[in-house]
């Protein structure tokens, strides 16, 4: 009896009812996200219609009416009467739009350089690798020399030879380091020290071991690079996407350090430095890039002695670097302002010097906050490099224009532009996705939850 009573009086909730059918599943999602009210419904339908129109046109122009094989633009026109794309031309001009006038038989050098750079940067994505900052610094500081040695070729000259050898040594060390991190779980310096039996010696001796090892690698690299026999490819015939990437790559790599220096200069307490940095930033930020490029390419040679006469590409790169630095300086300044005063004061109270305070306390916080803006500036710079076409550098855009003036491809004009747009979209989209990834991983703790 008691059992029954107990089971009758015990609190037993009824199983909860299923949610109303129109709030779950596909229908619920639709109601919640698409048809919340009459205005919402109209907006949704309008939106879907717009997407439909765009897709319809894209499919008709780009696929249904497109011509995939033809030898001249005239052939394309004869087939589709200009109502669809002529992708055959992109095929014919692909090489030109990628490498410009770089000789066909030497293009492997550009590809090799690109692969080396990618390999150098891959350790960033490998979680077990230690010392990522050093890896990144080695790539940014020395790859340009290795790259120019490879891309220009010919007689390297002693400076470029040495720098390229240093770069090559570092590159090999980076990958030895990565392999060791994964195989032995130790970094390259640790391994070197223990292998040579110096592990239990004084720390200062470790340095000699590392320098010795680097020296051996450097000599080997010097000898190896000495055996290169590369045909000279002057910068005047570089072009296409390759040129775009060279200009924007150097601009991007130099923008952050220069921008940080300028931003610090602008906040400096020394009036000379402050006024100079402020004037520099405001001057270069307030005029269009095209006028700066114009000045650099046509005016500067007027003021330099004929013997110097630097190549046009060097002038353009300097101009782009200055421009990028001025923009980056303002971004960094925004970040610096966002770091609270307490952080500076605490760092000073700990007795850190100015540079240590900046490098260890302030900058990491400021840069973290500014990741989206920094990457935004990088993307802006990459897009702006298309302006070099106006002063006659054969970047991807100007190569595309040249295609339409070639006797066989007369009038081939829209497709290269679409192709260029697509390439930029892919590059910039990847950058923006990477920035979002960075924001999530290293920006953690500051991001909105």
């Amino acid at each position: 009896m008691t059992d029954a009573t107990q089971s009758d009086t015990a609190f037993r909730p009824k199983p909860s009812l299923p949610p109303p059918p129109n709030t779950v599943g596909v229908i619920g999602w639709l109601r919640k996200n698409l048809f919340g009210g009459p205005v919402d419904a109209i907006l949704t339908l309008l939106g879907i219609y717009v997407v439909y129109l765009i897709l319809q046109f894209a499919v008709e122009y780009g696929i249904l009416n497109a011509v995939w094989t033809a030898d001249t633009y005239r052939e394309c026109l004869d087939i589709n009467k200009g109502e669809g794309a002529c992708w055959a031309g992109i095929g014919a001009w692909f090489n030109g739009m990628m490498y410009g006038r770089y000789p066909d038989e030497e293009q492997w050098r550009v590809n090799l350089g690109g692969i080396i750079l990618l390999l150098w940067l891959i350790p960033f994505w490998l979680p077990k690798v230690t010392g990522k900052i050093q890896v990144g610094m080695s790539a940014v500081l020395t790859f340009p020399f290795l790259g120019s040695a490879l891309f220009i070729g010919g007689d390297l000259g002693i400076f470029l030879h040495v720098m390229a050898a240093i770069a090559l040594t570092l590159f090999v060390s980076v990958w030895l380091h990565v392999t060791l991190c994964y195989v032995a779980g130790k970094s390259l310096p640790q391994t070197l020290v223990s292998v040579t039996g110096f592990a239990d010696k004084d720390d200062r001796l470790h340095k000699y071991v590392l320098m010795g090892a680097f020296g051996i690698g450097f000599v080997l690299a010097m000898i190896y690079i000495g055996t290169w026999e590369l045909q000279e490819v002057p910068t005047t015939i570089w072009g296409g996407l390759f040129l775009t990437l060279v200009i924007s790559g150097i601009g991007i790599a130099s923008a952050l350090p220069n921008g940080i220096l300028l931003a610090l200069g602008r906040r400096s307490k020394m009036p000379v430095i402050r006024v100079f940095c402020t004037a520099f930033i405001e001057l270069f930020r307030s005029v269009p890039l095209i006028t700066i490029l114009f000045m650099a390419v046509t005016m500067m040679p007027l003021f330099l002695p004929v013997e110097i006469n630097p190549p046009k590409l060097a002038m353009v790169i300097v101009a782009v670097c200055i421009f990028a630095a001025a923009y980056m300086a303002e971004t960094v300044r925004g970040g610096l302002q966002a770091v609270s005063k307490g952080q500076y004061e605490a760092a000073q109270a700990m007795g850190l010097s100015f540079w240590k305070m900046m490098a260890l306390i302030v900058m990491p916080q400021a840069l973290k906050l500014m990741i989206p803006n920094i990457v935004g500036s990088f993307m802006g710079l990459m897009k702006d490099t298309t302006l070099v076409s106006i002063i006659g550098l054969y970047d991807i855009l100007l190569m595309g224009k040249a295609a339409g003036q070639n006797p066989s491809w007369l009038g081939f004009h829209t497709e290269p532009l679409l192709f260029t747009a697509a390439i930029f979209f892919v590059l910039c989209f990847a950058m923006s996705k990477y920035s979002q990834h960075l924001e999530r991983t290293i920006g953690g703790g500051y991001g909105r939850r």
Binding site: I290, M295, L417
Partner: protein, 341 residues
């Protein structure tokens, strides 16, 4: 090669397709400089205006709960900001070639016409006494300002509110309207009419202007929208809740609590965006809109050969405009920033 600014007084022998200030072939290079400046400023002005308004709309759209709208807005943002502006400008110009030729213009009320040359509207021709209407507008603005000041003072003193905004609107529009009607509507219109190849009379903007404006607005709206979105998200929800619990209406909460705080984060990127609009209008040359760079740094430079002087003048102009914008907005920024004591 001769140097110096003497060439500014010599005759420029070319004509300019469209300008908002009078120009004819035979005027001086200095006049060309002014025409270029006027054309650059007019397109930048409209672009900045539209960018700012549309930027707010798209920024809010990205935060919308409607799936399609939010996705559409973010697709728009991604497509726009990942492709160089020059390509956007060429795209809109090419697209506008689908408009009909002048003889088959899209007309509206027989006074507005759109074709592949441009957009034609009736031009107002002021009659006698129209000056008084304009004076009334100025009077209205002064009176509205006075009313606002008075109303604010009264509210601080007594706590009573006065609908200063609507009174102001009434004054600015009402006074001139009354004067206009009292004077017997002294305004006629010059209608565009098809003559020969194209429309004559009326006022017009060329197709290149429209395409440039479209491209500039659509491109820069993205950056404005991103700034607005970040600004709104930066205002913590606690602020809204606190304001509700104080008894403020939702519209007041938005106007008095959320927007002022959001503007702090919106203004700095908005400054650089406005500056970029002015600078980027220099890409107009690609589609034949006669802006400063096109008429001065291209055509005039080519015909006169004074490269250094011309580029220097162009740079100086952009510097002036950019620094003016940034000075004005920095001043505003100082007003709204949190005061750290």
């Amino acid at each position: 090669m001769s140097t110096g600014f003497d060439f500014l007084n010599s005759t420029a022998g070319f004509s300019i397709a469209w300008s908002i200030i009078d120009y004819e072939a035979g005027d001086t290079y200095f006049h060309v400089f002014l025409v270029g400046i006027a054309n650059t400023l007019i397109v930048s002005f409209f672009a900045i205006l539209a960018t700012t308004l549309l930027g707010f709309v798209v920024g809010v759209m990205r935060l919308s709960s409607n799936f399609v709208i939010a996705k559409l807005a973010s697709a728009y943002v991604e497509v726009m900001r990942n492709v160089p502006l020059l390509l956007h400008i060429l795209f809109w110009f090419t697209l506008s070639s689908a408009l009909p030729p002048p003889k088959q213009s899209l007309g509206w009320l027989d006074s507005f016409f759109l074709n592949n040359r441009g957009f034609y509207v009736p031009a107002p021709v002021p009659g006698d006494g129209f000056d008084i209407v304009i004076i009334m507008v100025l009077l209205g603005i002064v009176a509205a300002y006075g009313v606002t000041v008075w109303a604010t003072k009264r509210q601080f003193a007594t706590g009573q509110r006065f609908p200063a905004f609507w009174t102001g609107v009434g004054l600015i529009f009402g006074l001139p309207l009354l004067a206009f009607l009292a004077l017997g509507a002294p305004l006629t219109f010059d209608y565009p009419a098809l003559k020969g190849f194209n429309f004559q009379g009326g006022a017009d903007v060329p197709r290149a202007f429209c395409a440039l404006l479209f491209a500039l607005v659509l491109y820069h709206t993205v950056f404005m929208a991103e700034a607005v979105r970040a600004g709104i998200l930066s205002v913590s929800h606690g602020q809204t809740e606190a304001s509700y619990s104080l008894g403020l209406k939702p519209s007041w909460t938005l106007r008095l609590v959320v927007i002022p705080q959001a503007m702090r984060a919106v203004v700095p990127p908005m400054i650089s965006n406005w500056m970029n609009v002015v600078k980027n209008s220099s890409l107009a040359i690609a589609i034949g809109y006669p802006d400063l760079v096109a008429v001065f740094m291209q055509t005039s430079l080519n015909q006169s050969g004074h490269a250094i002087e011309i580029v220097a003048m162009v740079m100086l102009f952009y510097m002036t405009v950019s620094l003016t914008i940034s000075a004005a907005l920095n001043y505003y920024n100082k007003l709204v920033q949190i005061k750290e004591r």
